[in-house]
């Protein structure tokens, strides 16, 4: 409950901060709509030339775009702003104040910055997912929808854990402020099913920087491509990766020694 209250406070603070930039917010939303238009145009150009991409149809790619936007919004609204703040706090030593709070430091580092206006993007993503399912005509059951949701969350947790590990490395290598570039750069691969990529790239985005776990895999569950064993395996992976990440975070905190003399 305590943490929910804190989250509520963070939201309020961030809403106030974004209200100071009203015109920017409107411009950003317009640009966002433009990119959505571009993404849909891109998909229709692809499907003007073919009927399936890596075994997936037009509707399924729209759904995938929705899932991708869900994950992408999570990154843009939460992860990137907090990375910026985190790197800054390591450089100038203001990380001290974060650690001094009587709250889990991982929680503080994750939620203190929120791009609130991005919330409308989540709505858009859900609309894309539902529309895509309708176009594709895939038969969905309550169970497939449930596993889809579970796997989206668990895939996002895997990406989140990777992020924690990447920024925790900054405790050891202070100059490592390019820490998330690799994650940022490869994120775009989530727009298309991994099955279209050559093997080496598929290995990278499945096992090393596992973008696919949060984009392709949940959709495979929705299509009924995954058996129970696979689903359990993915859920297991996300639990284990979260545990490992918090371990590494704690070890990193011990290493942290402030920026002043």
């Amino acid at each position: 409950m305590y943490y929910l209250k804190l989250l509520n406070t963070f939201l309020k603070v961030n809403i106030q901060m974004s209200l100071a930039y009203r015109a920017d917010t409107i411009v950003n939303i317009l640009l966002n709509i433009m990119w959505l238009g571009w993404e849909l145009l891109g998909l229709s150009i692809i499907f003007g030339n073919t009927t399936s991409l890596g075994g997936w149809g037009y509707g399924e790619l729209i759904t995938l775009l929705g899932v991708f936007r869900l994950v992408n919004t999570f990154m843009i609204a939460l992860i990137w702003p907090n990375t910026e703040k985190f790197n800054q706090s390591i450089r100038d030593g203001s990380m001290d104040y974060t650690i001094l709070q009587p709250v889990n430091s991982m929680f503080l580092v994750t939620f203190s910055r929120i791009s609130v206006w991005r919330i409308w993007d989540l709505v858009l993503a859900v609309v894309l997912i539902v529309t895509g399912i309708n176009i594709s005509g895939d038969i969905t059951t309550p169970i497939s929808i449930l596993t889809f949701l579970l796997l989206t969350v668990s895939g996002t947790i895997v990406l989140y854990s990777l992020w924690i590990v990447l920024i925790a490395l900054t405790f050891w290598f202070t100059k490592f402020d390019n820490n998330v570039t690799i994650l940022q750069a490869l994120l775009d691969s989530g727009r298309y099913p991994v099955t279209v990529y050559p093997v080496w790239l598929r290995i990278i985005v499945t096992f090393i920087i596992p973008i696919a776990l949060a984009t392709t895999v949940p959709l495979q569950a929705l299509r009924g491509d995954l058996n129970l064993l696979r689903v359990l395996m993915f859920l297991g992976i996300s639990t284990v990766s979260f545990l490992i990440a918090s371990r590494i975070w704690k070890a990193g905190l011990k290493k942290y020694s402030g920026a002043s003399s």
Binding site: I45, T50, L186
Partner: protein
Amino acid sequence: MLKIFQRLWQVNWAEQWQYRANLLMYLFYWLVSPIIYLAVWTSIANSKGSVNGFTANDFITYYMTLLIVDQITSNIVIHTFAYKIQDGTLSNELIRPIHPMLTNALVNNIAFKMLTIMGLVPIWIVLALLFKPDFASVTWQGILLAIPAMILGFFIGFLLSAAITSVAFWTTRVYSIHEFYYALILLFSGQFVPLTLMPQLIQNIAHYLPFQLFMYFPIQVILGKLSTTQIMQGYVVAGVWLVLSITFFRWVWRNGVKQFSAVGA
């Protein structure tokens, strides 16, 4: 004047060299989307045999060439210049007897380009080993004919970006305007897909716009896909756009500098 350029080159080269780690990161970031497009279109071509006459190898050679051409024709002037207008540091450069944009910023961009191309070469070779492009259609004439096209493409792109960057004299929202401009490039340059696979309407428009000169036109010249008349047409369009972009930039710049009043005391 030559001496000024020489000195500017030394300064800017040294400056960019300091940031070589960031540069590699930038390069890596920039590489991902062409590789994704390459993978998407090759997978379609493989499953169907060919897409509108494009085989898998056609897509691979197209995007592998794009990696080089884009590196030559693109520029980063918005990132290296707009903030100088906003925080007022431009005033130092304005009092010099040389044009800040057409000397210092230009040389800075070329130095950046040289370094990224140096970083790209080994990566490109690895990618070539992975994708195994067959460049049988490439001839020396094609490459020689494409070189002036790439230089023209770079200068047109640079002048247009410089003009858009100069909008910072009026508004702080210049980055949003630039993002919109970037979307136009994505749509009309042939970065997403070779223009011939675009809907007819977009193709017709794209032929008269400058954006195809950044990627599609030089790539197709290198790959030997264009007839002599098409190449001549391309050069005529490039010539017209060079004149237009010079005029446009000069006009925006002149009015912008008049508008400029530096921040601070």
